[in-house]
């Protein structure tokens, strides 16, 4: 598969006085799953809609393979997108897909194929009005996959899926990217996509807050150790001799040592003969880092 990249360049979109997206730039590369993360109202859906031409940018560009969506020939066979589940409640899942089959350039057989992929074969003849939220999400995915695209743009697709569904989606997207496809997947929960994505793009209030590989994001998590000792003077000299730059006394009998592990500090205290009454390691979770990135003022 020779999939195109997704490029967002200086994208700005205002609705009246609301700046939904403000000068946003990032790239989602082929062969990788990119997580597009941010809290509610961050501008994720707006950006994804701009990518597929449903909304027109106020400024900047949202391109797939260097082209705006309406410039892509046979778009459904290149790009599949899923937004908030949207179906006519009176149609069956199969009827829904058959309706779009002519535009996607596929046959009824492909409709059954994608229904099987998302596990809806048995429910295919039932009216969508009676579907559960997770079933609608699955049908939305089936619709995105209908034209057998190389690029997937998914807005909150894991939302409402059961654990088995999330697991399936993860495997599917990993495999899709491994075969060279491009995936841009939005979520407001880092934990939901943490194991799925290779890269992260984090936005808040319409602006870019962070963009890196998942691995680099993990490196932003830091750990610290809190030690308690009843011997005030011994504690003071212990941190002064060993952790002068990274330690602070938070009370006369408690010290906090940044960037250290409990194992390392415990060994040092033992070697120095320091009596310890407490030794606790605290690690920022990814979620804390994510919160910090999205709630702080815009980064430089």
């Amino acid at each position: 598969m020779d999939a195109p990249d997704i490029e967002v360049r200086g994208l700005t979109k205002t609705f009246g006085s609301v700046a939904a997206v403000n000068d946003l730039t990032f790239t989602a590369r082929a062969g990788r799953v990119t997580g597009f993360l941010g809290p509610n109202g961050a501008g994720k859906s707006t950006t994804l809609r701009a990518l597929v031409g449903l909304i027109s940018p106020t400024a900047g560009e949202a391109l797939i393979g260097g082209k705006p969506y309406d410039g892509i020939a046979h778009a459904p066979q290149r790009v599949g997108a899923q937004f908030e589940a949207a179906f006519h409640p009176g149609r069956s899942a199969r009827g829904h897909l058959l309706t779009y089959a002519p535009l996607a350039g596929v046959t009824a057989q492909r409709c059954d194929e994608v229904l099987a992929m998302v596990g809806l074969t048995e429910a295919a003849g039932r009216r969508v009005g009676g579907y559960s939220m997770g079933m609608r999400q699955r049908l939305g995915l089936a619709t995105a996959l209908l034209g057998d695209p190389q690029v997937l743009i998914l807005d909150e697709s894991a939302n409402g899926l059961d654990p088995a569904g999330v697991h399936w989606l993860r495997g599917f997207l990993r495999n899709f990217a491994a075969e060279g496809g491009t995936v841009l997947l939005s979520s407001h929960l880092l934990s939901e996509v943490e194991l799925t994505v290779d890269d992260v793009v984090i936005v808040a209030k319409g602006e870019l807050r962070h963009s890196s590989s998942m691995e680099d994001l993990r490196n932003l998590t830091s750990s610290r150790v809190e030690v308690r000792s009843p011997r005030q003077e011994a504690l003071e000299s212990f941190i002064a001799s060993r952790y002068l730059d990274s330690a602070t006394l938070t009370s006369p009998t408690t010290a906090r040592i940044d960037g250290a592990s409990a194992q390392e500090v415990g060994a040092a205290a033992f070697a120095d003969g320091l009596e310890l009454h407490g030794l606790e390691q605290q690690t920022d979770s990814l979620e804390t880092v994510f919160m910090r990135l999205t709630t702080e003022g815009a980064s430089a």
Binding site: F15, R49, L54, I55, L103
Partner: protein
């Protein structure tokens, strides 16, 4: 374009809407045409002066033709609503997102909607005329009134009735694109066709310099295609000739669709 039309036809055929409207159309045309035809045919026996004076001095074929125009005058709301809903439902259920993802060219979307309504509106049109002419002719025959069905000109008018109802479907699509709010467009269609225009036609009939204008109202244009109208016998307002009526009615649909296209061209499709 073919793919877009096939997709739109499937959209209509995979929901119940169109045959619910078909059944409602048959029932209401049978009921309304039956009632009106009986009251005209049996006017003397019933002693209804009004109905008798309505047809007094008309030749029997004109009375029959007026009865056969009723399915158009009374039934046009059904193909029009079907056409309008085919567009507004896309917004209501947000399937417009998927539709434009599959084909982002919005002019093509509207074009395909305009074309795909035609076969369904033809079916509604045939059902309306068959029901209306059947019921009407039966009522006339029962009262020993000439049915006019031996007159080929009347059959021509009946055929134009099918065409008129078909064009109403196109008008509905146009309105739906120009005004994508489902509630608004249905209220407007029913309010206009059943209330506003009949009143307007009568009112314009009384205003000397505006008398000609009434013939260009959409309902009057549709009636003109059949060559008779309940309302025009009431106020003796002149109708356009059938093909001029066709042109005027179709123009309403296409102008509305053009407005819809213009509105939709750069419009954001957002939640």
């Amino acid at each position: 374009m073919n793919a877009a039309i096939r997709s739109e036809i499937r959209k209509i055929s995979t929901t119940r809407m169109w045959w619910v409207l078909l059944l409602s159309l048959i029932l209401s045309v049978a009921f309304l045409v039956g009632t009106i035809a009986f009251s005209i045919a049996f006017a003397e026996q019933l002693g209804g002066d009004e109905a008798a004076s309505l047809t007094a001095g008309m030749n029997p074929d004109d009375v029959a033709l007026m009865v056969y125009s009723l399915p158009v005058s009374l039934g046009y709301v059904f193909p029009a609503v079907l056409g309008a809903l085919s567009v507004t439902q896309e917004y209501r259920h947000r399937t417009i997102d998927t539709t434009l993802l599959m084909d982002p060219r919005r002019g093509r979307f509207i074009g395909a909607k305009l074309v795909s309504i035609v076969p369904f509106a033809v079916v509604l049109g045939i059902a309306a005329m068959v029901t209306g002419v059947g019921t009407g002719a039966a009522a006339l025959a029962l009262a020993d009134f000439p049915t006019g069905l031996d007159n080929s000109a009347i059959w021509g008018s009946i055929g134009m009735g099918v065409l008129a109802l078909t064009v109403w479907g196109v008008v509905g699509v146009g309105l739906g694109t120009a005004m994508p709010s489902q509630v608004l467009v249905v209220v407007l269609l029913i309010g206009w066709t059943q209330l506003a225009e009949p009143i307007l036609r009568l009112a314009l009939g009384f205003i000397e310099p505006l008398q000609g204008v009434a013939a260009f109202l959409p309902g009057a244009a549709g009636d003109a295609m059949v060559g008779a109208s309940l309302y025009s016998t009431m106020d003796s307002g002149d109708l356009l000739n059938p093909w001029a009526g066709f042109g005027v009615l179709l123009t309403y649909g296409l102008v509305a669709a053009a407005i819809g296209w213009f509105r939709m061209r750069h419009r954001d499709i957002s939640v």
